[in-house]
């Protein structure tokens, strides 16, 4: 299914690697498989394994190792707030709490419409611009620095609208 649907993209990715090292394409392929639904299905892992000639357990291990890959249904957008020490010193924890209160959810939870999940993560290399977070979706990552609860809340509202229209267009969650 995955292999069929994305055969062109897959070929494009594979062409970047020497054939005898095609297993190196595992990361971009997982990324591709995650694009639509923001998680990698077991079926997709099996197909990736087949394409690359490795075991599906090996593919799953990579999905498991990296925090930006998911093997379960989550939200359309993931708001990842850095709460590591330097950010914490610039008030990241209060910021996170404020944002959650504003959305009526707890850290690690998803808004009822399934659009946005808020997570606490480790250093994202923007320590001097805290409070900061990144938003992950099928489209990729975007950085949002020097945030306030208000600026973040309005961004989240925007994301929820987008998620809704995405769903209407028939994309996954």
């Amino acid at each position: 299914m995955f292999a069929e649907k994305y055969s062109d993209e897959i070929q494009a990715i594979l062409s970047k690697y020497p054939p005898e090292q095609r297993r190196a394409a595992v990361m971009p392929l997982i990324y591709l498989a995650q694009r639509e639904q923001m998680y990698v299905t077991k079926q997709a892992m099996v197909e990736i394994a087949e394409i690359l000639g490795i075991s599906s357990t090996d593919v799953a291990s990579i999905v498991g190792f990296y925090t930006l890959y998911y093997d379960k249904v989550g939200s359309t957008y993931r708001v990842q707030v850095c709460t590591d020490l330097p950010c914490a010193l610039r008030g990241a924890e209060q910021f996170l709490e404020g944002l959650c209160n504003n959305l009526g959810i707890r850290v690690g939870e998803t808004t009822p419409d399934g659009a946005v999940m808020v997570e606490a993560v480790m250093c994202l290399a923007a320590c001097d611009k805290a409070p900061m977070f990144q938003v992950q979706s099928g489209d990729g990552l975007s950085y949002h620095e020097n945030q306030t609860v208000e600026s973040a809340a309005s961004l989240v509202a925007e994301l929820r609208r987008k998620a809704q229209s995405k769903r209407r267009d028939g994309h996954g969650r």
């Binding site: 490795i54 075991s55 599906s56 357990t57 799953a60 291990s61 498991g64 190792f65």
Partner: protein
């Protein structure tokens, strides 16, 4: 090899350069605790349990000399930090301190860390009592933890990784041994790490879960109770167990194993087998075994076992005393005289085969080995000589595996051949279809089914001036560059070994193949030296032993049986395997000869017998087997014998006694002594010789289970490899032309590990891995014949035959040659060799 001197905890050690500190210490009896290190795998330094203090002599940079203290001793410099003994190789003058305060404190800290997320549920843990973590905690642990109990990580405790192995995620200490074993040792990377840090979990994504025939080994090397087998989980505590040395009976490798038993109330106070563990034999199975051996032993304790002799009275089999049964048999055998026809299966021990043979020979009868493989006389002439060991094979060796799906036929040989290839051996895989060994091959040779002997002769042809005529099917092969390159590599290697199996062969083709193999060895001078020679991948544990003792298969057994006046069938079930025995062999007919069946079970043949004689399982008695490498190995009684029961050799002996023959009926050891005195290859052997052991490396199974795992140390015999009988001369085999039929398909037998054998089926835990009867077709053929994947089909032999009733599921594959049907042995379709068939779906004839 350069040797290096160092001291470890005050002891001086001299070891080869490159030795790891942990192993150097082990050699002088010093135990450095480890978790992630395992002597059969590359070090990774993941767990830090092996921390030691290391001092190195200070070298003066200008002079290059060792700097000395005032008293003349070398000045030592100790590193600021502890180092891992499992990743650090020794160096000259090194001083290792494993028991200093600093080293001890290091270990204590590591244990404390490991236990922060460990449930410490030892009282209900199957590993408790033989657990490295438990033992090392007792020895080096701090006794108290500073971590908060409430902050322990809680994870799933009963995770089936497939139906054979259970995982307790909380107990895992993330040493990675299991994952590395599956990946590096057996190349089945079907379990892996998921997540990281404290959240790390072992997962499997294969279908079925943990899809590897070596999975049980991970439970031996897991240093905690995280991985356990379904067979043993919650069944007993290690300290209640006794152990007895035995040999696996499931294939010709002859893995050394230990049975663990316990006398228990739940079994009515009887001694019962609780599990099977590998037993070290670095010449045979090292410290591993496969899952068929580990879980397939249950037949020995099946409730279906026969318990008393049966004699046919008024048409019905009825219980009888031994006296009645044996006297009756003796009387009828006497009458039959040279019309006695003995059929024995290769799962009988040397002693059984010897006594049954003796009895048969004395009457002038005929001895027939039940089976479809030939060449056991040739493996005796040109087999591996004593001292040969797959572990010693590397760059200088060529290994040719022909007509064998070795992974299915003999998993441990597959593993050892693969590892030899990884050490640089030339691996030539010659088979008509791809197998799992192909991935490690340096040379691949494909030949048509039925032409295996021809393919090997073609190799000889490209090498030698003596040119045997080649059959048409392989005439082209001689010109193939792959074959030429393979032949060249084989000829040029210093040492060369051939393993031939029974992929697609019947007795005739197999005999020709064995002869071609011998020709190739002779032509290239690869006989009579260590790590050279011919090995047959037999279908039974003791087929080689049977050949050594003069038993031979016959070409057309059903027909040959017709001359019999009395049939003595032991450990074989012809009537159950092939209806031809009913028709041509007259079994079950009016003209059936007097039939005695000696077996564990009431087989189809036994149901037709005049007398049925029960026997002891190999776990209830002593004996010996001769492996495919011609290693004679002893097995010992594991559980008490059943009341009023006898071993096969004793039953045969008791019949013989009644005929006035001088035969041993009590002791297997004495039977063996007689056998040895009469059989040249066995000259000088005794049970005492077979029980001899030598020090093996790595040292396993002693107090330090954390090092090698729970594999048993070999204290009851590594066995003895038989010397070659006499090297035969070059004589070209009679080739059987097996061409493609004009119409129809060619059905060929193949071997599957998890089969329908009567010695496997009673192990219900393996049933999910044992498929329904099936055949494999080429997908193009299937399309032409309109057979879809999973369709029920029947095979109709072109020459007629009576297996119409047998149905099988069609599986389609593109890597099966066209117009070939692969028929796994023992699944009910009695394809004994290449056979022309047509396939039919439902009621319609298709091809």
């Amino acid at each position: 090899m350069k040797m290096v001197n160092l001291t470890i905890d005050g002891k001086t050690v001299t070891v080869p350069e490159g030795t790891l500190i942990v192993n150097a210490a082990k050699k002088v009896g010093i135990d450095i605790p480890v978790f992630c290190y395992h002597p059969k795998m590359e070090p990774v330094g993941m767990c830090r349990m092996c921390l030691v203090e290391i001092g190195r002599p200070v070298i003066d940079r200008t002079t290059g000399q060792v700097v000395r203290e005032d008293d003349g001793s070398p000045k030592m410099q100790f590193g600021p930090k502890l180092e891992t003994a499992c990743t650090t190789p020794v160096s000259e003058g090194m001083v290792v301190l494993g028991t200093s305060e600093k080293a001890k404190a290091g270990r204590q800290d590591i244990i404390e860390f490991l236990l922060t997320s460990h449930p410490l549920d030892c009282p209900i843990c199957d590993k408790g009592g033989e657990c490295p973590l438990q033992n090392l905690t007792m020895e080096f642990g701090p006794g108290e933890s500073r971590y908060l109990y409430d902050e322990k990580m809680h994870l799933a405790k009963h995770v089936p990784l497939g139906e054979l192995i259970y995982l307790d995620r909380e107990r895992c200490i993330q040493c990675g041994r299991c994952v590395r074993f599956q990946d590096q040792v057996v190349d089945d990377p079907v379990i892996g790490f998921f997540q990281r840090g404290r959240s790390l979990e072992i997962v499997t994504y294969s279908e079925p879960g943990f899809d590897s025939v070596f999975s049980g080994n991970t439970t031996d090397i897991c240093p905690v109770g995280a991985l356990t087998t379904t067979d043993f989980r919650f069944k007993a505590r290690p300290w209640e167990l006794r152990s007895a040395a035995s040999i696996c009976t499931q294939c010709p490798v002859g893995c050394n194993i230990a049975f663990n038993t316990r006398r228990e109330a739940v079994s009515g106070g009887k001694w019962v087998i609780k599990r099977v563990m590998p037993r070290q034999n670095e010449w045979v199975n090292e410290i591993w075994m496969c899952d068929k051996g580990r879980f397939g032993y249950h037949y020995s304790k099946s409730a279906e076992r026969l318990t008393q002799p049966l004699v046919r009275r008024q048409g019905e089999l009825a219980p009888a005393t031994w006296e009645e049964a044996l006297s009756f048999v003796a009387e009828r055998f006497q009458q039959a005289g040279d019309g006695l026809f003995s059929i024995a299966g290769g799962r009988l021990s040397n002693e059984d085969l010897y006594n049954q043979g003796k009895l048969t020979d004395s009457l002038g009868g005929k001895k027939v080995l039940y089976g479809t493989m030939g060449g056991g006389d040739l493996t005796a002439q040109s087999g591996l000589v004593p001292g040969s060991n797959f572990s010693d094979m590397g760059k200088e060796t060529a290994i040719l595996v022909v007509a064998s799906d070795l992974h299915e036929e003999a998993p441990i040989w597959w593993l050892r051949v693969k590892q030899a290839a990884e050490r640089g051996a030339q691996l030539i895989v010659a088979n008509p279809r791809p197998t799992r060994l192909d991935a490690y091959a340096t040379h691949l040779v494909r030949y048509p089914y039925g032409s295996e002997a021809g393919a090997l002769l073609a190799m000889v042809n490209t090498l030698s001036a003596k040119r045997p005529d080649l059959p048409e099917a392989v005439a082209n092969l001689v010109r193939s560059p792959e074959l030429k390159a393979a032949a060249k590599a084989f000829a040029e290697a210093e040492n060369a070994v051939i393993l031939y199996g029974s992929e697609g062969t019947g007795l005739e083709t197999s005999t020709a193949l064995a002869q071609s193999c011998q020709n190739l060895l002779l032509a290239t001078g690869h006989i009579g030296r260590i790590n050279n020679g011919l090995v047959a991948v037999w279908q039974r544990v003791n087929d080689q032993g049977a050949w050594e003792l003069g038993w031979r298969p016959v070409a057309n057994l059903p027909e040959a049986m017709q001359a019999a006046r009395a049939l003595y069938v032991a450990a074989a079930d012809p009537a159950g395997d092939d209806p031809a025995y009913l028709a041509e062999g007259r079994l079950g007919s009016q003209e059936q000869a007097f039939l005695v069946v000696q077996d564990l079970f009431l087989t189809a043949t036994a149901r037709l017998a005049d007398v049925v004689l029960p026997v002891q399982a190999w776990t209830e008695r002593e004996g010996s087997y001769t492996s495919g490498e011609r290693r004679v190995q002893r097995f010992y009684p594991v559980v008490p014998e059943l009341a009023d029961s006898y071993a096969d050799f004793s039953v045969a002996g008791q019949i013989g006694k009644r005929l006035g023959l001088d035969m041993e009926i009590r002791l297997a050891g004495r039977t063996f002594a007689r056998l040895a005195s009469e059989t040249p290859a066995f000259t000088g052997l005794s049970y005492a010789r077979l029980a001899e052991v030598v020090e093996q490396w790595p040292i396993v199974g002693r107090g330090d289970l954390y090092y090698g795992g729970t594999t048993y140390e070999n204290s009851q015999g590594i066995g003895v490899q038989l010397p070659l009988t006499s090297a035969g001369g070059l004589s070209w085999p009679k080739l059987v032309e097996v061409g493609m039929p004009k119409i129809g398909l060619l059905a060929v037998p193949i071997t599957r590990l998890y089969d329908h054998g009567s010695t496997l089926l009673p192990s219900s835990m393996l049933h999910q891995r044992i498929p329904e009867p099936y055949v494999v077709l080429n997908d193009q053929d299937a399309e032409r014949l309109k057979i879809s994947e999973g369709a029920a089909i029947q095979l109709i032999p072109a020459e007629g035959g009576s297996w119409l009733g047998v149905r099988a599921i069609a599986r389609l594959r593109s890597d099966v040659p066209e117009r070939i049907v692969l028929v796994p042995r023992s699944f009910g379709l009695p394809v004994a060799g290449p056979t022309v068939v047509s396939v039919r779906l439902a009621e319609r004839v298709l091809a």
